[in-house]
Amino acid sequence: MAVLTIAAAVAAMTLRNLVHCALALTVAFAGLAAAYLQLDAQFVGFAQIFVYIGAVAILLVFAILLTRGGEVPGQSVFSSSWVWGGLAALAVFATLAWAIQNSFASQREPAETVQASVKQIGDALMTQYVLPLEVIGLLLTAAMIGAVIIAMKEEGKE
């Protein structure tokens, strides 16, 4: 499962055709959803499937087609400073891997049984976390209105 997720992520970052990139990304998101289900976080796993595979992937395909990204570019797909970008990513991975290998937290044993039912999550959202929930609702509304205004045709042009 992990190998499939990583392979899909690498494909999403290296393929030339942007539509293929979006499809590979969908596979990577599905692999992550499977990892969430493996970790007993059912609600987050299904939210991942709904939000990422259902909404974000469709949005990406729409954007790719609207910007004519479906055409395979003739020139290189990597920007002119790709060496430095790759080196920075490698350095970040080396640091993270070193920290994980040396951390005492990596040896922790998981709790035997974990309850994260939808009812409990709903209770927590409606009591302790009700203010963050309201804020995120406001944020999503603002983001939707902002996205529509930004992408709207400018008046008097075209």
């Binding site: 997720t5 990583i6 992520a9 999403a12 970052m13 942007l18 979006a22 990304l25 990577a28 998101f29 992550l32 990892a35 969430y36 493996q38 970790l39 976080a41 987050v44 991942q48 939000v51 974000v56 949005l59 990406l60 729409f62 954007a63 910007t67 990204g69 570019p73 020139q75 290189s76 797909v77 990597f78 920007s79 400073s81 790709w82 790759g86 920075a88 990513a89 490698l90 970040v92 991975f93 993270l96 994980i100 990596s106 040896q107 044993e109 998981p110 709790a111 974990v114 994260a116 999550i121 927590a124 959202l125 976390y129 995120i136 999503l140 983001a143 939707m144 996205a147 930004i150 992408a151």
Partner: protein, 103 residues
Amino acid sequence: MTPLAAYLLLSAVLFSIGLAGALTRRNAIIVLIGIELMLNAANLNFIAFWRFGENPEALTGVLFAIFSIGIAAAEAAVGLALIIAIYRHYRTANVDEVNSLKG
């Protein structure tokens, strides 16, 4: 059960792949995809630490991941709207060519 270090390493690999993509690709949409991948890697860390943590019945990691998914959705919508606006203005989605603030 798979040890915590395996999940953390998977998350680190995904984060680095996303970072490499965001830093090296020419097309702005792929840059956005790389950022989404990095956000997802962070979510995997939240869930893994929640599952292996001190008191999982507090549901802190799960709720943080849910809010993070919501914010990532808002970010994707605004980012793609910006890319479409830039494309309409410059007729390109190549981040190397979009280098002036004043069109």
